[in-house]
């Protein structure tokens, strides 16, 4: 696993529609045992495509806001 922040997938909200798997430009997500899994966490660039395209808001990419 990586220490970097990763998308958080809410399995209660997720309908396993697969949109995030298809949209991820780094192919970091997979459907595994009927659930979305971040199969390649190191590949994730935190681009936000999965969160932006999830139709049920099941993916969270969290940010802290601060002065540089």
């Amino acid at each position: 696993m990586t220490d970097q922040a990763l998308p958080i997938i809410d399995s209660k909200k997720c309908t396993v529609c697969g949109v995030c798997v298809d949209i991820c430009p780094e192919l970091a997500l997979e459907v595994e045992d009927g659930q979305i899994s971040l199969a390649s966490p190191k590949a994730c660039t935190y681009c936000g495509a999965c969160e932006e395209n999830c139709p049920v808001g099941a993916v969270r990419l969290e940010y802290v806001i601060r002065w540089a």
């Binding site: 660039t45 940010y63 601060r66 540089a68």
Partner: protein, 187 residues
């Protein structure tokens, strides 16, 4: 979930620890976050003081939280019998009224770009002392009364203009002067 909008009001709540989020839902399911409340804050006071009132918003915990629940009848009795408690609750109402007035002003008078700049400055200046400091772009959109893709475009535009950098897990504000001008609509 702590309470649902539209259910009969049975209690007022005090946040002992943790954090809750107050939000409303439109018939289409769109959220408007009204506020987040950390330790020391009350919620559900308004319907508790109106006869047969219903909860006016939804409340959910954001992290593991301890809440004190006081029934409507006990709350009313405390207000009548303990003047210092009544005064504290009145002061609290005054603060809430000021907050809601600011929210109405923000939603009705300012563009998404202005609201976003104001929000970013206030969050960065608060430095995370106000409870949860982790926001998703959807959270910010709900807070500002807009939708995720509009918020995403506004953020990217600010990044392109050198006001901020979006990094993994961080929105880093770079240029206070430019952000303040965006917040003031003075560009």
């Amino acid at each position: 979930m702590v309470i649902w909008q539209g259910d009969p009001c049975e209690s007022v709540f005090f946040v002992i620890s943790g954090e809750v989020e107050i939000f409303k839902l439109s018939p289409a399911g769109r959220e408007q976050i009204l506020d987040r409340m950390a330790a020391g804050r009350w919620f559900n006071l308004v319907p508790a003081l109106i006869v047969d009132a219903k909860n006016q918003a939804n409340v959910r915990t954001l992290i593991e939280s301890r809440l004190l629940s006081i029934s409507r009848s006990d709350f009313t009795r405390l207000l009548v019998e303990v003047p210092a408690f009544g005064l504290a609750v009145n002061r609290y109402f005054a603060q809430r009224l000021a907050h809601m007035t600011n929210l109405v002003e923000s939603l009705s008078l300012y563009t998404v770009r202005q609201r976003l700049a104001q929000f970013l400055i206030s969050q960065a200046d608060a430095g995370g002392s106000g409870g949860t400091v982790r926001w998703t772009q959807s959270d910010i959109a709900n807070r500002l009364g807009t939708v995720r893709d509009v918020l995403g475009r506004a953020l990217r535009r600010m990044a392109d203009e050198g006001m901020l950098r979006i990094e993994r897990e961080k929105i880093l504000l770079v240029d206070r002067e430019k952000l303040q001008r965006a917040a003031d609509g003075d560009e």
